[in-house]
Amino acid sequence: MDQRAILDHQFTVAAYVLTWAIQLGYLAWLGLKWRGQKRDAGGSARNPR
């Protein structure tokens, strides 16, 4: 495998990995927000002001 093909491969892998990192990172952030809301809603129901 020549140097050009190795670099092409590395750049392609980087693009795919970064795409998934962004998408899954966002999904994880949404999941955390969802869990936080459930916790807040539970706390509000148990301790009404």
Partner: protein, 261 residues
């Protein structure tokens, strides 16, 4: 009419059942969401397989051209979600006085569309330079397509910052106006490499006889990835919408509790 507190036993409303239709409906909904998520995951795997192992090697760019199968569908899905944000923003402005419930739902769609659109647009702005570095020898150039895409991303990031940090009763209205003006950049981005001479490759669709994908194998891989990313995008869009609606309900509940205190 005041509800009677002394209903006869025969006419009393039935006690809520927690073993009948409610849990079944809930389970059906969860099942449908689970099936959709599983189908989306399968599509993503299939799309990846098509892009990496099935699509033929491009003659001049070779392997790095395969970035295209993630880059272009991400751009298309981002455009779609910015259009949803535009519709939500218009809906909010239209319903905010007469139909507050509809206005809140429209606002949630506007926010969800903008946020998920920014996620996809970020993917576009990262995968594009990675491809450009190998194909052109540079990470970035200030040509019309790249610049208008960056401006689009900045507009929607400013929309999200406004939603996050501004306070007061006018935030939703201001955000809706910004969302409408931001969406005006979408057709400019789309048309930029038709209107101006750019370094960016020709459009995949609607760019004339010399542009587009000629190889059927490449077209298949592209279409599978487009469907997969659309399915994925709709899944996280729906989730983001649900989160925002719940946030609105919690905020309304807190406001009501503060008033009652």
């Amino acid at each position: 009419m005041e509800p009677s507190l002394h209903l006869p036993v025969e006419s009393a409303p039935p006690a809520p059942s927690y073993t009948g239709s409610v849990p079944t409906g809930f389970s059906m909904k969860k099942l449908a969401i689970g099936l959709y998520a599983a189908a989306t995951a399968a599509l993503m795997v299939w799309g990846f397989y098509q892009a990496i192992y099935v699509a033929p090697d491009e003659q001049t760019m070779h392997e790095v051209q395969r970035i295209f199968y993630y880059h272009v569908p991400s751009a298309m899905v981002a455009f779609l979600f910015f259009a949803i944000s535009l519709a939500g923003s218009i809906g909010f402005l239209a319903f905010r006085r007469n139909r507050p419930d509809w206005a809140q739902a429209a606002d949630a769609w506007a926010l969800a569309g903008a946020e998920v659109g920014v996620v996809f647009c970020t993917v576009v702005l990262i995968t594009g330079p990675l491809w450009g570095r190998r194909a052109w020898g540079i990470w970035w150039t200030w040509d019309a397509r790249l610049t208008t895409t960056l401006v689009l991303w900045l507009i929607y990031v400013s929309y999200l910052l406004l939603r996050r940090f501004a306070a007061g009763p006018q935030v939703q209205t201001l955000a809706a106006v910004l969302g409408i003006f931001g969406a005006l950049d979408v057709p400019i981005v789309y048309m930029s490499n038709r209107w101006w001479r750019t370094q960016h490759p020709a459009p995949v669709f609607g760019g004339g006889e010399d542009s587009g994908i000629k190889d059927p194998g490449m077209m298949h891989a592209f279409l599978w990835n487009l469907v997969a990313w659309l399915a994925w995008g709709l899944l996280i869009l729906a989730l983001r919408y649900r989160v925002e609606r719940r946030q609105q309900r919690l905020a309304a509940q807190e406001a009501q509790e503060a008033l009652n205190a």
